[in-house]
């Protein structure tokens, strides 16, 4: 029994590499470059719409600035000491520092870079974020060094009859 040797038809449009490497993947012709470009443009429009939606959401979002409420007795915080609390909501970590006998300052504990928790470095007299080495001025919360570009969120505090009150936050 003899058999005819297999021959493959070569169309004149077929590229040279395909004659050297005559394999094809399933569906390789399904997406052309122009179709891929259309998909990219469509994705680009979707991403732009999504970004616009995020901006609108940011605009419409109401941020709770907090209601006045007592935090801690003044005597419970020594001069140069700190006290942790939550303000304006129970999910917002905050910290206060007693800078003098009759002076306290309060800040949101969230670093304005990426939201890590800052703590007070008494040896350097500054707020420090350990995640990316951000540093803030102790009394004002202004940026000293590191990646943050905005100061810490300030919480207005007041001493009333020996008690420290939080009056509102300014994120």
């Amino acid at each position: 029994m003899t058999s005819e040797p297999e021959t493959t038809e070569q169309s004149p449009e077929e590229p040279i590499w395909h004659r050297d490497f005559p394999y094809s993947a399933a569906g390789e012709e399904e997406v052309t470059r122009r179709e891929f470009a259309r998909y990219l443009a469509l994705g680009s429009g979707v991403i732009a719409a999504g970004t616009l939606g995020i901006a609108a959401w940011t605009q419409l979002r109401t941020i709770n600035h907090g209601e006045p409420r007592p935090i801690v007795a003044l005597d419970a915080v020594p001069v140069g000491g700190t006290h942790l609390f939550q303000y304006p909501t129970s999910s917002d970590p905050a910290i206060l520092l007693r800078t003098a006998a009759d002076e306290v300052v309060g800040f949101s504990q969230k670093c304005t870079h990426l939201g890590c928790v800052v703590f007070f470095q008494s040896s350097e007299n500054r707020w420090h974020c350990p995640c990316h080495e951000g540093n803030f001025e102790a009394r004002t919360g202004a940026v000293i060094s590191g990646p943050p570009t905005r100061p810490l969120g300030r919480i207005a505090l007041e001493i009333r009859d020996g008690t420290i009150w939080a009056l509102g936050s300014n994120p």
Binding site: G45, A48, T58
Partner: protein
Amino acid sequence: MRTTTTRAGRTTNAILVYLVILVSLQIFLVSVAVEAFTTGDRSVAWASAAASIVLAAGAALFTRALQQ
């Protein structure tokens, strides 16, 4: 192995590269907008949205040029 590429094919490839770059920039802008959202920074959120729309318009123009 050397393949022959026509002028039109090179143009198509170039436009595809531009499109990929534009979409990559837009993905970066999404991350910027999300960070602005978490911090309540409205100006940055709107700026990133505006930039993303400009890039999308550019992508649309490139795609239109490709279809012609």
